[in-house]
Amino acid sequence: MNTPNSDPITLVVNGAPATVGVDADTPLLWVLRQTLGLPGTKFGCGIAACGACTVHLDGVPVPACVTPVSAAVGKAVTTIEGLRGAVAEAVQSSWAALDVPQCGYCQSGQVMSAVALLSANATPSDADINTAMQGNLCRCGAYPRIRAAIHRAAEALPTRQQR
């Protein structure tokens, strides 16, 4: 059998350490989906053009499809499966309340980008939303509801001063 051409790599995914034996150039996306059994992060384009694979590295949204697994070493990887906290709860409950998803395939990525936005900016304007969400493509056209759900989540969260 042909073996991977690199040493085992240790990651911290959703708060837990995980050691994987994969080729060093393997994108984080495929390690999450196929090696670690976390299929919530989706494959859409492979070139960071659609945002379906968005995960957080130390809280910053990145496209996992072009992030080599080696670049995630020493950073906290958060996927949709490991999303926790008040912002995540507000976003996901708004998403369900406004029926944002249609086919839903892009929505893990949309939720990851929205959580990152609201974690950094508690009261985003429409322009802020455009900037933060522009990289997340939705073929079903959930955009009006994504915008409304981000505003709704922002309203549900305590303001910056109260936090």
């Binding site: 989906r33 998403w95 369900a96 029926d99 998803p101 086919c103 839903g104 939720v111 056209g141």
Partner: protein
């Protein structure tokens, strides 16, 4: 709607319904030859639902959930009649069975105008319904899911409710007529209660000979904006698509496919094969012949991870030589334009001697429009997982046609269809792409080379975009004869382009539509509600090696742009307001007129518009279109930036889709149709050179993003008519609405898609 009581024809008396599961008349749709999987303790009361002891109601749905909300809407139909607790309702895919075959889509697919209602037309529709029930083609498409299941789902719910009441009544020794069902419980006149979960096993032997459907006025579920059943799972990453299937020892496959028109796989030397097989993780490299299902000749790499398979496949793609192909959209379009000039298309609807009136007219309007090829570009790339064992095969995938998916696997593996099991998943987008089963046939051919091991084939985005069944490019010439007052005396439309449904029918082996006119090529011209004294619509089918298929709203996707732009040109020629002009043509079609008036009123049609924040003027444009039994009117507010960029600020839509089963999902689908339609109206164009598309990924095939998305309002016309389509009808009107707004704004009439305005600097 009247309260309706009826007998389930031909079901006889006694316990035949449940005891003789498969021994029922072939054309009933309540109980099939295959019992739904009840997962142990649950009980199937008919082919459409099971009830578990804990009161969980599993609605068995034969339609794919691809975003359009069909699973929620169908569950609502059944739950309405069952009188169950909505919080206990879940949904599961049905097995493959004739009772789940799509009747509505085939009947609606006949080439008759929606309002045609003669004896002959009714007779042919009846025959087609009968044929459809016997063919039993399971298909999610043509915006038909709610229409198709409107009766069976409610009958199944009502029948189960009657059984549960009868079982409770027998337990208590009272007459069934004194008991009622409410929120998942049967209640007696003196207040005794039994839960559905307690009654289900007993209910099996109590079947009704007569069932009563609720009157629309009594609906408590249908007609309400119920939250979708799948929203939470699709917001937290737990929804499972075909691409998420994970099986023990599973291998992954990637492919290198030949260009359009090629008949051989890319040629590869023994040395290259050996080199590829030596790469990390690679288990097999195989050459595939392709099949009539549309999968082209190809090379496939099977490896331990998809990344390894993909890397090896990309290396092979650079090393191998593909068969030369001269197929290009430039020459295909030249051919279509040449065909159009002959003016001898197959007539689809004609009356009043329109061509003679046109030839004799002193004043005419004559315009030619064009629409390009389009890719589906579903967010979830094509994928399928197949395991071939010694005595059969299993398939895991998302498909709009599970029966054809099974047939494709059986065909490729030389198996009987009964030995192929299909596990259906939700779809990361369909839009018509997953009506085809090419990727499934290909996955089966690959899995055959590594028996007893599951193989998951995943196409890259580039594979997906470059091996699609495209919306055919179509060109149309529209002409109208006008009298001295500018009134139309004859309307003539002749289009040319490839026939998508005929091509599809040949791939999957659906005999009914492999010959004769393909109504989908020119639907949207001959089936519109405008009243003209003379009409002639025709279409010339062209041929090319470019694979074509059904793309959301199919012929309507381009014909609405042609017809509704031309109606606007006619209004301009008559020097009339476009809304008033359309209203005059719709006097004999009150349903369409109401939709038009609602959109006009809600959009503030005629009221002045403020300029944009950057000081650019705005204008409104309107379009109205009938498709899939529904009528939609849209008003778009548009401006053009200094650099020529077209900006759509607000779209107001009105729809009559019959009884609005779930207003929330209807609004969602109208938003979806508008955004999808706007995406391609502004950017969509698939260009093919040397047998391969020039566009390969989202940076070249641009789709609308959140910052370009307009504000959308949806208004629904109240109606008690049988529900009609919702998933597609919102798409066709947006391109002409925007083009018509651009004409009002700039005086420039754009007659080709995608819409492109010159930049002010350039002009």
């Amino acid at each position: 709607m009247k309260r309706r009581t009826f007998l389930l024809a031909g079901l006889g008396t006694g316990g035949a319904l449940f005891l003789g599961w498969a021994l029922l008349p072939p054309r009933q749709r309540l109980v099939g030859g295959t019992r739904p999987d009840t997962g142990g303790t649950a009980v199937a009361l008919n082919g459409w639902l099971t009830i578990a002891p804990d009161d969980t109601i599993t609605v068995v749905v034969p339609k794919a959930e691809m975003g359009q909300g069909a699973h929620t809407a169908l569950a609502m139909l059944l739950a309405e009649e069952l009188e169950c607790d909505w919080a206990r309702v879940r949904v599961e895919y049905s097995p493959i069975d004739k009772i789940y075959g799509n009747v509505s889509a085939l009947v609606e697919g006949l080439p008759f105008a929606p309002e045609a209602d003669g004896t002959l037309v009714r007779g042919i529709r009846w025959m087609m319904a009968k044929t459809a029930r016997e063919l039993g083609v399971m298909m999610t498409g043509g915006s038909s899911s709610v229409r198709d299941c409107w009766m069976p789902m409610r009958e199944a719910g009502a029948s189960a409710r009657a059984s549960l009441i009868a079982a409770a009544a027998a337990t208590w020794g009272v007459a069934a007529s004194t008991c009622r069902a409410e929120q998942g419980t049967v209640i007696s006149a003196d207040g005794r209660r039994l839960r559905f979960g307690e009654l289900a096993a007993l209910a099996v032997s109590h079947r009704p000979s007569e069932i009563t459907l609720k009157a629309a006025a009594a609906f408590t579920v249908v007609g309400t904006p119920m939250p979708r059943l799948d929203s939470a799972a699709k917001s937290n990453g737990t929804a499972t698509y075909g691409i998420d299937v994970s099986l023990p020892n599973m291998l992954y496959a990637a492919v290198v496919m030949s260009p359009f028109g090629a008949t051989t796989a890319p040629s590869v030397t023994a040395a290259q094969m050996a080199q590829s097989r030596a790469l990390s993780g690679v288990r097999a490299v195989v050459s595939l012949p392709g099949s009539h299902y549309g999968d082209p000749p190809a090379l496939a790499v099977v490896a331990e991870s998809w990344w390894q398979a993909h890397k090896a496949a990309r290396a092979l793609a650079t090393a191998t030589v593909a068969e030369a192909s001269a197929v290009s959209t430039v020459t295909v379009l030249q051919d279509i334009r040449r065909t159009l000039r002959n003016d001898d298309g197959l007539p689809l609807r004609f009356f009043g001697g329109a061509k003679k009136v046109l030839a004799a007219a002193s004043r005419t309007v004559d315009a030619t429009y064009e629409a390009p090829y389009l890719a589906h570009a579903t967010m979830e790339p094509m994928n399928a997982t197949v395991r071939v064992s010694n005595d059969g095969a299993e398939l895991w995938t998302g498909t709009q046609v599970p029966g054809y998916a099974r047939a494709a696997v059986a065909h490729v593996l030389g198996l009987d269809e009964d030995n192929v099991t299909v596990h259906q998943h939700i779809l990361g987008g369909g839009f018509g792409r997953r009506l085809d089963v090419d990727y499934i046939a290909q996955a089966a051919a690959i899995a055959k080379t590594v028996p007893n091991v599951p193989v998951q084939l995943i196409w890259s985005r580039e594979d997906d975009m470059q091996h699609d069944f495209y919306r055919p490019a179509t060109v149309s010439r529209l002409r109208a004869a006008l009298d001295a007052d500018g009134r139309v005396t004859a309307f003539v439309a002749h289009s040319a382009g490839q026939a998508p449904f005929k091509a599809y029918s040949k791939r999957v082996g659906f005999l009914l539509t492999q010959s004769g006119p393909d109504r989908t090529s020119s639907e949207g011209t001959w089936d519109q509600p405008y009243a003209f004294p003379a009409l002639h619509t025709s279409h010339s089918e062209t041929d090319s090696a470019i694979p074509v298929g059904s793309w959301r709203s199919v012929g309507h996707s381009h014909q609405a742009f042609f017809v509704e732009s031309f109606i606007d040109e006619l209004a301009a020629a008559a020097k009339q307001d476009p809304a008033a002009y359309r209203a005059a043509l719709l006097q004999s079609h009150p349903r369409a007129l109401r939709v038009l008036q609602l959109a006009a009123a809600k959009s503030g049609w005629g009221a002045p518009l403020e300029p944009t924040a950057d000081g650019r003027p705005r204008a409104r444009g309107m379009a109205l279109h009938a498709a899939f039994g529904s009528i939609v009117a849209e008003v778009a507010e548009v401006s053009v930036a200094r650099d020529g960029r077209i900006r759509v600020h607000r779209v107001v839509a009105a729809i009559d889709c019959g009884l609005a089963v779930n207003p929330n999902i209807i609004a969602q689908q109208i938003e979806s149709g508008i955004i999808d339609g706007l995406s391609v109206a502004l950017n969509g164009e698939l260009v093919i050179e040397d047998g391969a598309p020039r566009q390969s990924n989202f940076y070249e095939y641009r789709l609308l993003r959140i910052d370009e998305c307009p504000v959308i309002e949806t208004h629904i016309v109240p109606s008690l008519d049988v529900p009609s389509g919702v998933g597609e009808p919102g798409l066709p009107p947006i391109a002409p609405a925007v083009a018509n707004a651009l004409f009002t704004l700039t005086g420039t009439r754009l007659r080709a898609l995608p819409l492109r305005m010159p930049s002010e600097a350039a002009s």
